[in-house]
Symmetry: C2
Subunit: 201 residues, 2 copies
DNA sequence: ATAATTACTGTAATTATATACAGTATATTG
DNA sequence: CAATATACTGTATATAATTACAGTAATTAT
């Protein structure tokens, strides 16, 4: 999908804000008034351009007939099994998506990851649970993190992190700590867990 | 708030459906067409009646200027500590509410209950977690239920349920099974847990 | 018993809105 | 270098939409 210009983005945001605030889209005149245009036709032409780029649909003849097209940015992907090698958010890993507006958790969640295995049961993270992962939340010692070790994705508690030693702890006595030297093995902290979701318990 | 008549409710539902389907409210003519009125004024007068009863606000002069007023039915209450004696959903127990539309869990959740204590940690239910409770979901042996025993509310696994013996199991070796004779003690199964929510783990 | 509410038809006027047409000027792309 | 896109002004008009007014008839409150 073609990118919007700065001005077009401004107009799209105005439409979204209008819908959130009042419950329905603005008219051409509303848009013109908000942005200081002296002609409603300026708004009309912007709308046509935004429609052409695929962000909205204009229903002809209907007043306020501006329909927002589904935008991938408004969807939080739910990641199932992560294929070895590729990036977590690769399309083939996406099990489904959840509209961001339907997110009752306050935190900033980039994706949900479906938990495999029993390595975190001691802190109440069970197989098939969904973990809300934030890429930006700061990962400090004690955080539950999503890590990638030699292209394998795993969820563990971060215990120690220094230049040549990273310790990741499974929260299950059955398993031992994972000790990695990031200068020898490939290691990346993909994000940290900020939420947990479980259905039909 | 005064109750709507059957016809008024029909119209309110039509408005809501229109907003969900198209993203903006219907016009008087849209409503008339949908319900078979021969005059848009029929819709107009219904809208005025619905507004008078407090369910919508009509913005004068604006096309499609129908604003839905917040409705408590669209909010899921989050229950904190349950005061001994009173009903779970009593107002003083409601910590906050979450709009039902922001519910990414498919199940039918009547309220969220904040977990107190560690009696369910073995199945990953921790203190401060939020449990999604359904009053209508069938409670069978093996379900995690919200039970009220002698006016005390508790979350446990239902192990046995017969006429004169109900067994509720805390999922923590530290605690023993609770065995209740419902013909002697007061017992009510308030609902069963269909979801779990945890923030900032 | 009377007033108010509910539930409409039918008409019409005013205003709100979409949208076409004619321009101007600058920036970007093929 | 021409064509296309961006970003508007300015005017005009058909039509979409609100909304007032005048009725009818049945039901429900006071």
């Amino acid at each position: 999908m073609k990118k919007l210009t700065k001005r077009q983005e401004e107009i799209l945001n105005l439409i979204k804000a209008h819908i959130i605030n009042l419950g329905f889209p603005p008219t051409r005149a509303d848009i013109a008034r908000s942005l200081g245009f002296k002609s409603p036709n300026a708004a009309e032409q912007h709308l046509r351009a935004i429609e052409k780029k695929g962000f909205i649909k204009i229903l002809s003849g209907a007043s306020r007939g501006i329909v927002l097209n589904d935008n991938e940015n408004d969807q939080i992907p739910v990641i199932g099994l992560v294929a070895a090698g590729g990036p977590i958010l690769a399309e083939e890993n996406v099990e489904k998506t959840i509209p961001r507006s339907n997110n009752l958790l306050s935190s900033d969640i980039d994706y949900y990851l479906r938990v495999k295995g029993d390595s975190m049961v001691d802190i109440g993270i069970f197989e098939e649970d969904l973990i809300g992962v934030s890429k930006s939340a700061d990962t400090k010692v004690g955080s539950v993190v999503v890590a990638r070790i030699n292209n394998e994705v795993t969820v563990k508690t971060l215990i120690e992190m220094s230049q040549n030693k990273v310790v990741l702890r499974p929260e299950n006595q059955k398993y031992d700590d994972i000790i990695v030297n990031p200068q020898v093995e490939e290691l990346a902290i993909e994000g940290s867990c900020v939420a947990l979701l479980r259905e039909t318990i």
